[in-house]
């Protein structure tokens, strides 16, 4: 493609030079001034012209400059372009990878900046009337600019994009891209990424192009850090992965509440992982921080935090006619003080943190956290026996490590889950296990009697009990102490708290409303230790609960750039910029026009100054 003009009609503006010339001539129609004699003037001009033949030219300098400005502006308006190389021709839907791995610095200054540059080039290559859409694929994909032809808007959208600290939700991003492509069938989708895309992405209409960023794959990452109560004090577990092609050695620093506690050397095989455990951590440990020494392309995953919540004894009230499995399972939990009551006995006056009710309900439900097992109220209840497993929310944290597939249930009561309830296990006849957040406390319901199932005999039972009681007995003010970036955290303020403030790792404070039951904190984008502080009405600090946000994502930490991505059935390989694009040059012309304007202004005022200077 040869250089040309996108808007050649604008060259007609060159006709404006005619009025300029006319105006100039009009301006030069000199003012007539009578003088007594022109004798001296005539002699003077003879001398002057003999001395300086360029004087005549100088008087026309302003005209020449003005014509030059007009020429430059006219050319700029005509939008000349030079042929350039771009990966797309025509409208483009740009999918910009905003996942954590894009913060890797193996390409300077970072993969995300390189991706932004590539996106800018694509934008610059868009011709007149060709639309650009920018989708930032982060944990929550967003459309930064939708079907915009204005390059400035697209550039601004790209400038505002920031990479996230979490994994990208590519399925959502592709759904947004598909919607954008549906609006413009001639557009092409461009994925600018390091290639860490899931393999099961849906196909997009039209051809999808892939611009790969990233060069290196060697990255050491902390993918796990946990603190557990051991016999001799808290224990720490650390797991480090190596996504590089060579065995790597690193030292892991462990900092307890800001003080260096231990440094361990760890050798991690290529594409493998290694772990270590540290015993004898101080009893007073609250926040444990692990750091990998040395530098690698992705610093995000070189630091991790774990928060220890020293378990105060939790009072659990178990109301049961007698259930050995349950008693054992609950009583075994660490930090739990179990009180057993027979049904019908009056509830004790001492407060308790959790009421586990086994069997039919005889009283109205008390407030507070409740776990109802095989409970049915006074009203008419029906029993269903279609208890074959229909669905188990195995990705729910409450069912973590709980294998429900071998659980058999004889019969269960039909219980309608309250609105907003999370059904964890559903049989064909109805829900078997659901949990709900109520204003007065958390609620978990097993709709069958434990004696009617083989659940207590399964390995899953103690795990389920531990998970459920762990959820029902939230540690302090926060429901969880280890989150991934972007995870929402529901807070449980004490009843007397009137003010709730979450302080992020960077020091910014987020006040939260306390009126509702469980305020949710969502600004967990930053990695690090957050602190939730509850204040009483007199301003005193009721309690302070830390929680940690870590990347802990082996997929994101594996920064190796991929050679191919799978979109639908197609394998897409990185595109080389071989397509024809057009690089517009009008900004340079406009800048030149501005410069010439400055010169013209200077020349004009210089002339004025010289005239007035001898006054």
């Amino acid at each position: 493609m040869a250089p040309g003009f996108l808007n050649p009609l604008a060259l007609l503006f060159a006709a404006l030079s005619i009025p300029i010339l006319i105006l100039y001539m009009l301006r030069l129609r000199r003012r007539e001034v009578p003088v007594s004699s022109t004798l001296l003037w005539r002699r003077l001009l003879r001398d002057r012209e003999a001395n300086a033949p360029w004087q005549r030219l100088r008087s026309n300098l302003l005209l020449l400059l003005q014509l030059l400005i007009l020429a430059l502006l006219t050319l700029a308006l005509a939008r000349p372009f030079l042929p350039s190389r771009s990966v797309v021709s025509g409208s483009a839907v740009i999918l910009l990878d905003g996942s954590a791995s894009m913060q890797a610095t193996d390409v300077s200054p970072s993969r995300f900046e390189a991706a932004r540059r590539a996106a800018r080039q694509i934008v610059a290559g868009l011709g007149a009337g060709e639309e650009g859409t920018v989708i930032l694929a982060g944990p929550r994909p967003t459309v930064l600019a939708s079907a915009v032809t204005d390059h400035a808007v697209l550039r601004r959208a790209l400038d505002e994009a920031v990479p996230s600290t979490g994994p990208a939700d590519w399925a959502d991003a592709f759904a947004l891209a598909a919607a954008a492509l549906a609006g413009n069938p001639h557009a092409q989708a461009v994925v600018i990424s390091d290639g860490a895309l899931p393999p099961d992405l849906p196909a997009l209409p039209g051809e999808t192009r892939f611009v790969r960023v990233g060069e290196r794959s060697d990255n050491l990452a902390l993918v796990a850090l946990a603190v557990r109560e051991g016999a001799a004090g808290p224990q720490a577990f650390v797991r480090v992965t190596n996504s590089g092609d060579a065995t790597a050695q690193t030292s892991v620093e462990l900092w307890t509440d800001g003080a260096l506690f231990d440094v361990r050397t760890l050798t991690i095989p290529a594409h493998g992982s290694a772990g270590l455990s540290v015993d004898d951590l101080p009893y007073t440990l609250q926040v444990l921080e692990a750091r990998l020494s040395g530098s690698d392309p992705l610093p995000l995953d070189d630091t991790a935090w774990a928060v220890r919540s020293p378990a105060a004894a939790r009072r659990v009230l178990l109301v049961t006619p007698g259930n050995l499995f349950l008693e054992r399972a609950v009583g075994m939990l660490p930090g739990v003080e179990l009180t057993r009551l027979a049904p019908g006995q009056p509830l004790p006056d001492t407060p308790y943190d959790l009421l586990v009710h086994d069997g039919p309900l005889t009283t109205t439900l008390p407030s507070g956290n409740l776990w109802l097992i095989g409970a049915y109220g006074a009203g008419p209840t029906t029993v269903f026996t279609a208890t074959a497993l229909a669905r188990a929310a195995s990705d729910d944290p409450l069912l973590r490590y709980v294998d429900w597939s071998n659980v058999h249930v004889l019969r269960a009561w039909e219980v309608e889950p309250p609105p907003g309830a999370r059904v964890l296990v559903e049989a064909e006849g109805g829900p078997l296990l659901f949990v709900a957040e109520r204003p007065e406390g958390r609620l978990a319901v097993l709709t069958f009697d434990l004696h009617d199932s083989d659940l207590p005999l399964q390995v899953a039972f103690p795990i389920l009990v531990a998970n459920l009681t762990g959820w029902l007995l939230p540690p302090g003010g926060v429901s969880e102490t280890a989150l991934h970036p972007g995870d929402p955290l529901s807070l449980q303020p004490q009843p007397e708290a009137v003010r709730l403030v979450v302080t992020a790792p960077d020091g910014s404070a987020y006040p939260l409303p306390v009126g509702q039951a469980a305020p949710t904190f969502v600004a967990t984008e930053r990695l690090g230790v957050y602190r939730v502080e509850q204040f009483a009405s007199d301003g005193s600090l009721l309690r302070r609960d830390p929680f940690a946000v870590n990347l802990f994502d082996a997929a994101e930490s594996d920064i190796a750039p991929r050679d191919v991505i799978h979109v639908g059935q197609a394998e897409v390989r990185p595109a080389s910029p071989g397509r024809e694009g057009r690089q517009e040059t009008w900004p340079w012309l406009a800048a030149a026009a501005l410069g010439v304007m400055g010169v013209e202004w200077w020349a004009f005022h210089r002339g004025m100054g010289r005239r007035g200077g001898t006054r």
Binding site: L28, R30, P34, V35, S36, T38, R42, L44, R611
Partner: protein, 319 residues
């Protein structure tokens, strides 16, 4: 035309010609004639035919020989007062070139400061009146002429006035106030014509701005050849010395009507002043070789100061 106080002060002055002494004669010699004035000059022996009234009887009584007292003869001086009557003389002053007042656009865009001073023509006539009065008052023969001779080689008909005696003062003033500057004047032709027209060789006082396209060299040469002693009173207005102009202008010559395009800025104005000085130097040199004196005069100089101080210092008047 001139106020009484000024007339009183200049009435005692007399015009001085450095070389011309005798009335009709052109001479390099010292005054030859002994006359009848009261100024004593010398004694000489009585000769036959001498007027007995001139014999100094006191000497005769003492020496017993007759001696005749000799007195200076009072020669009159032919004074020619030539006034340039071209329209370029009708310029400047508060009146702003009467006759062009309507089209006057001299005020420049940045607000011109008007210069004080009378019109060049007015000033020239007053100067002529003053010098003419001095001549009449000292008994010289005065010829006044206004030079208006448009074509270089045409026969010039110029209005002249010949006067003698203090009693003619009013006539001179009336005649001067009736004059009107108009048209073009070729100075060379006018001066040559005046020189050829004859008249006693004497002191020529030329009042002009010398804005003549062909210059005035030949005219001055002709005057010198005729034996005249010339004083060139080069009269300019302050506007002409330092023109208050700026911008892109078309200058129109009020005398010839010829336009001249010029873009005036500070540099051009400085150049103009240098050019004017060079021109005046050139004129001074021309005058020096033609038995003439050159005196630049600007109209912002007070007339009494000009006559009583400047002209006296340069030796044009004495007394």
């Amino acid at each position: 035309m001139l106020d009484a106080a000024l007339l009183n002060r200049i009435g005692r002055l007399r015009l001085v010609a450095r070389h011309i002494r005798a009335g009709q004669m052109q001479g390099e010699r010292r005054s030859t004639k002994r006359g009848t004035s009261v100024e004593f000059a010398d004694y000489r022996d009585y000769a036959r035919g001498d007027d007995l009234r001139r014999v100094d009887w006191n000497i005769y009584a003492r020496l017993e020989r007759p001696f005749v007292k000799l007195f200076e003869d009072e020669e009159d001086l032919a004074v020619h007062l030539l006034l340039d009557g071209s329209s370029s003389m009708d310029w400047g002053g508060d009146g702003e070139a009467r006759g062009h007042g309507d089209t006057e656009t001299r005020g420049s865009d940045d607000g011109e400061v008007r210069r004080k001073g009378s019109s060049k023509w007015e000033y020239a006539r007053r100067m002529a009146a003053a010098l003419g009065y001095i001549a009449l008052a000292s008994g010289d023969r005065l010829s006044v002429a206004m030079l208006q001779c448009p074509m270089p080689n045409a026969q010039c008909s110029m209005s002249t006035l010949k006067l003698r005696g203090k009693g003619q003062t009013l006539r001179l003033f009336d005649w001067l106030s009736g004059l009107q500057a108009a048209g073009t004047t070729d100075l060379n032709a006018s001066l040559r014509a005046y020189a050829l027209a004859g008249g006693r060789a004497g002191l020529v006082l030329l009042i002009s701005d010398l804005f003549s396209p062909t210059g005035c060299t030949e005219g001055l040469t002709a005057l010198a050849a005729r034996g005249h002693e010339t004083v060139v009173l080069h009269l300019l207005t302050p506007d002409e010395v330092d023109p208050p102009l700026s911008g892109d202008l078309r200058l129109v010559d009020v005398e010839t009507g010829e336009p001249q395009d010029v873009t005036v800025d500070g540099g051009v104005r400085a150049l103009y002043r240098r050019r004017l000085e060079a021109w005046q130097d050139e004129l001074r040199a021309i005058c020096r070789t033609r038995n003439a004196r050159y005196l630049p005069v600007t109209t912002d100089a007070p007339l009494d100061r000009l006559v009583l101080h400047d002209l006296r210092r340069s030796g044009v008047v004495r007394g």
